[in-house]
Symmetry: C2
Subunit: 322 residues, 2 copies
């Protein structure tokens, strides 16, 4: 690893590569998290809406490789015993996103895990700093999966320097649309200590994502994503109003996006149809969460190779200008 | 100027600093454009909805300093004689944004002016390349003023490398939320040849913006901007559906954003009220277009000083990592 990749973030986390795996629910399992850690970064298991036994399984899958874990904060509040299960596995870090972190922050810090808090605004970053975040993840609306709604949400490039200035000296990780080493290099010159990468690792060999979804990610353009609530509505998952999710535009999105009340009215037939399609890996109907880095993702690769390329490309991008 | 700022874009435009003034309608006049050019960048007069005489006045204000000019393409189509007036002044470049450029592209290129085309997607960039653009401006939804609606629009950080790859070897300028040298440095490592900067120059001493608006820009946070149609509705300016404008949240936005049909119903009283407030420089009601780089803008400065700081800060950001 070159010196250029040693940052306040890598020092705080005790890692070599300034790359954190986004804890994508049901996609970032123990095998993927361990692969990212082994490549020098920090792998985070993505709990999503899963239960204790799934968390145990994924830590088992990570084996002896140190990994962390990430929760959806408002969902953790509904079944908080999952935090005990996670902390009993001595995670290197616990990441909280989307909701009120105050009931959990102190316990995480006292456990010895680094507290990573993801935010979507400058005001949110300052709240995270006040709660004792060890790392603040600044997430732009270009991110795949859930985040601030773009109507009033913030894009990453101007958000990062604002958050860096706002929470200094806490290290900041940039999240949203970063899929190659040029994005990593940009994050570093903006003052971030590294990046949190989702979609690119969704398409990793080791991810738990469906093979069909990985193929769609490798083929799609970011001109064709949408931020929407319909995939939460279809699954009857009650996300707080301020968050929507970015996904590939597919037949289901074309049918229902912008027609949420109609989808709600048809939910008795649409929910089972949706769930059956998801079980079958039918990407015309099931959600494929994806960020706007899609154009930069051409193939499914092992996670270690992805980390390695991110670093090589970032090195080249910085040397080309510097 | 250090070698690091010599790019394919600066070579093509014959400038020294990789900074283009966004042609903000009614804000980027001849004095501001000339100041940016004198500082080593390229100043563009922003026509907006103005007529021939205003264009002549602004070229006069620029004096002997070479500047360019930018049109709103769909509005230019309604009164295309303005292009003749502009070309008769031998602009260094003509920028077209928002609409079908095909009726104008050839004439601009034949005049000897560089053709700068602003786009909001990868598909748009490829169309601009096909029309012969000399420079493609990739505009993210964090930009102030008009652009793609964020519902399906693209953020800048992942858009730039996708457009760079998509139109190579045409130089790309990054636009949207870039307000300090860290943003310029990020654009360069993403592969852009430079940046197009709006809001930061809105708050320049030489800009035609109202002093009250400049003060609001220096004070506001980017947590408080909104993409909306209400300011176009209030002025009865008929923008195509796919574009909205980003502005500071003010009393007028709090009253009407999300209630466009109600505003339309009240237009007989709201339009004169709006126009009177705008004439009086009342920023609680009048629009202050602003991008998400707001947090990085603290004071009103001469444009030459802004360009100089952009370069110094970019140098520092690149050296800090590189």
């Amino acid at each position: 690893m070159t010196r250029r990749f040693r940052t306040a973030m890598t020092e705080r986390l005790g890692i070599e590569a300034p790359v954190i795996l986004a804890p994508m629910g049901g996609v970032a399992g123990g095998a993927l998290a361990a692969a990212v850690t082994r490549a020098g970064g920090l792998g985070l298991i993505g709990v999503g809406y899963a239960k204790e036994d799934w968390i145990e399984q994924q830590f088992d899958a990570a084996g002896n490789t140190p990994v962390g874990i990430g929760f959806i904060t408002w969902d953790l509040a509904r079944a908080p015993a999952r935090l005990d299960v996670a902390l009993s596995r001595k995670p290197r870090a616990v990441m909280l996103s989307f909701g009120d972190a105050s009931p959990f922050a102190d316990r995480i810090k006292k456990s010895g895990a680094a507290l990573i808090m993801q935010v979507q605004s400058l005001a949110g970053a300052k709240q995270a700093a006040a709660l004792g975040a060890d790392i603040v993840v600044a997430q732009g609306i270009e991110a795949g999966g859930h985040g601030a709604d773009p109507g009033d949400g913030r894009s990453l490039l101007p958000l990062v320097p604002a958050v860096v200035d706002g929470v200094r000296p806490i290290p900041v990780a940039a999240a949203g649309g970063i899929a190659d080493g040029r994005g990593l290099a940009a994050a570093l010159v903006l003052g971030a200590g590294g990046v949190l990468v989702g979609t690119r690792f969704y398409a990793a060999t080791e991810s738990l994502g469906h093979a069909n979804a990985k193929r769609r990610i490798a083929e799609a353009s970011a001109d064709a994503t949408v931020r929407t609530r319909i995939f939460d509505t279809a699954r009857a998952i009650d996300w707080p109003d301020e968050y929507t999710g970015r996904a590939l535009v597919n037949d289901f999105a074309r049918q229902w996006h912008g027609r949420e009340p109609a989808l709600q009215s048809a939910i008795e037939t649409e929910k089972p149809r949706y769930l059956a399609a998801a079980a079958a890996g039918d990407t015309d109907t099931m959600v494929v969460w994806a960020g706007q880095g899609l154009d930069l993702i051409q193939e499914v690769l092992p996670a270690g190779e992805i980390v390695s390329r991110l670093l090589t490309e970032a090195d080249r991008a910085l040397s080309g200008v510097g």
